[in-house]
């Protein structure tokens, strides 16, 4: 196979994989504008399911709950993720560093059912002993924040590794106490990483069904829990409408942020080239 053939082979391979990844998403969007009651039969275009969605009180309440949990969970995750990444990055030697590092990375791969069940059994034990916490928003939040902290740790840690440690030394050299080094230099430089960790952990929480199912109590159904219970029963076109709304929102955010960072990078490159020429 010569290099042109290889190039075309590569292109078609990538195209097929992208088609595989995007086919279900496009179907969801297309069928959300289908008027038919049957999800699979196309009758004609309409906004019928969007109207149905607007009157679906259960689903709207679930979306609201999910947004609330996702926001709080992202905040907590970024907070603890910042600490654990900082601890692992800054302090090379302390007792149990290996354990902390393992504990921080296992939730990334651990099957959800294991995390959910074990957390629930622990919370039940605690509740039996202390009479607190009741299963509900708080317990779901704990589960999501545990998972989110693990992801936030990875994101923040990789940014810290890229960061020049000399910058922190320079700050100290110029008279910053340790906490000033952190707030005046480390934190501002970590801001983009914290922002992307926030978005990532928000999405993870917003998307989770298994942990929520284990940890929620009566009256607390998140959006994925509602979707899941409906999807188990069969196909439901208003879910397509909901999917389309989320996909549009997410795509706009992701596209915009990618374009923004690309433009930033290009501007930076241009600045640097310009500076060299002067």
């Amino acid at each position: 196979m010569n290099s042109t053939a290889l190039k075309w082979f590569g292109r078609s391979w990538m195209l097929l994989v992208y088609a595989f990844l995007f086919l279900p998403i496009f179907t969801l969007v297309a069928y959300s504008f289908n008027d038919s009651q049957l999800v699979t039969v196309w009758s004609h275009a309409s906004l019928r399911w969007y109207k149905a969605l607007m009157h679906d009180r259960d689903l709207i309440a679930a979306v609201m709950l999910s947004l609330k949990i996702a926001f709080l969970s992202a905040l907590v995750s970024v907070f603890f993720g910042l600490f654990s990444a900082f601890a692992l990055h800054r302090y090379r030697r302390f007792t149990g560093r290996g354990l902390l590092s393992s504990l921080a990375s296992t939730p990334l791969v651990m099957p959800d059912v294991i995390v959910g069940l074990s957390l629930l059994l622990m919370l039940v034990s605690v509740q039996q002993a202390l009479g607190y916490p009741e299963r509900g928003l708080f317990t779901i939040l704990l589960g999501h924040a545990l998972l989110g902290t693990a992801y936030a740790t990875v994101v923040v840690r990789s940014r810290l590794t890229e960061m020049d440690s000399k910058l922190e030394e320079a700050a100290m050299d110029l008279g910053c106490r340790p906490w000033q080094v952190f707030t005046l230099v480390t934190l501002p430089l970590l801001m983009p990483a914290l922002l992307s960790a926030f978005l990532l952990t928000f999405t993870l929480s917003f998307d989770d069904v298994v942990l929520s199912s284990f940890l929620s109590g009566p009256g607390y159904s998140t959006m994925p829990m509602v979707i899941f219970s409906r999807a188990r029963l069969g196909l439901n076109p208003s879910i397509n409408a909901l999917a389309t709304v989320t996909i549009v929102v997410v795509s706009v955010v992701v596209f915009a942020s990618t374009l923004y960072s690309l433009r930033q990078a290009r501007q930076r490159k241009r600045d640097m080239a310009l500076a060299q020429r002067e």
Binding site: D173, G175, R268, M272
Partner: protein
Amino acid sequence: MENASKSPLANEPLLRIEGVSKIYDGHIKAVDQVTLNVASGEIFALLGGSGCGKSTLLRMLAGFETPSQGRIYLGGTDITELPAYQRPINMMFQSYALFPHLSVSDNIAFGLRRDGMAKEAIAERVEAMLKLVQLSQYAKRKPHQLSGGQQQRVALARSIAKQPKLLLLDEPLGALDKKLRVSTQIELVNIIEEVGVTCVLVTHDQEEAMTMATRMAVMSAGSFLQVGSPKAIYQQPNSRQVADFIGSVNIFDGPVKENHTNYVLVQCADALLRVPHSQPCQDGMGVGVAIRPEKMALSRKKPSAKVNHVAGVVVEMAYFGAHTSYHVKLASGKVLQVQVQSHADEDNADLCWGDQVYASWADNAMVLLTQ
């Protein structure tokens, strides 16, 4: 205790390092028993290869590392345990470490703000610093919008803005390309002298050390091999390692044949050398004799003196414009480097590969190395 009668500060050097060691993992000696005084106004260079301990020593001065043993005094005050942010010492970092999220003027003002200086005073000082390094029109730019040379000047301005008692320079020109370096060296020294700050600089580049420093130390394996002015170290190296590290050198080995009051005769494989010296030697002791390549002369005619010349064959020659470099192979197999200035070259204009030549030198061109 001799100083006890005088004022304690009268003879006190600005920086006094006393028996400082840094030991990692209980046995790796990064810095080993270093003692040094640096007087006010000096530009002192620590010169050595990578891993010689020069950076560790500098980091201990800055306060990023604590010595395992020994004390460090600044202006008579013990600063060994003082954290970096409380030392009146500032550092210009290797590759500058300019804060990428702050503008040029905010970078320079950073240290001043930590001191709680008044706003107007800070603005004034920043203005003065920018003027000093000729970057006034770049105040609002971010570091990545500057060229390498401009960044270097911002880093310098930032490190002297707080008017430190001691300025540390970590490979100050290491990130610049060769062409910029020479002009920047001079500029840097001019600014430092204008401000009048005492400096300790770390470099692996001997030319940089020699052009910038008033005094320097050659470091290896955590300790000082020799401390002195660049000229003294170049002309009177005290050991093979120093002679080898600073510039190129030819070293003849052999035993001391005769030991006289002002000179010794050293019997080398290729010649008998008459070396003036001041230190005592014993007969039969193995020594080295160092001669710089530019202090040798080449000739087809055999020199009349009995000593201090060798015979050999030209095996390599390279024309460098201002001088020509020859490699001369001696009977023992040793290859000598000889540099001949172009204006002195008329005699050797026709020297060629394979020619039989004599290399000779003056008595005072030789340095006796006993270690």
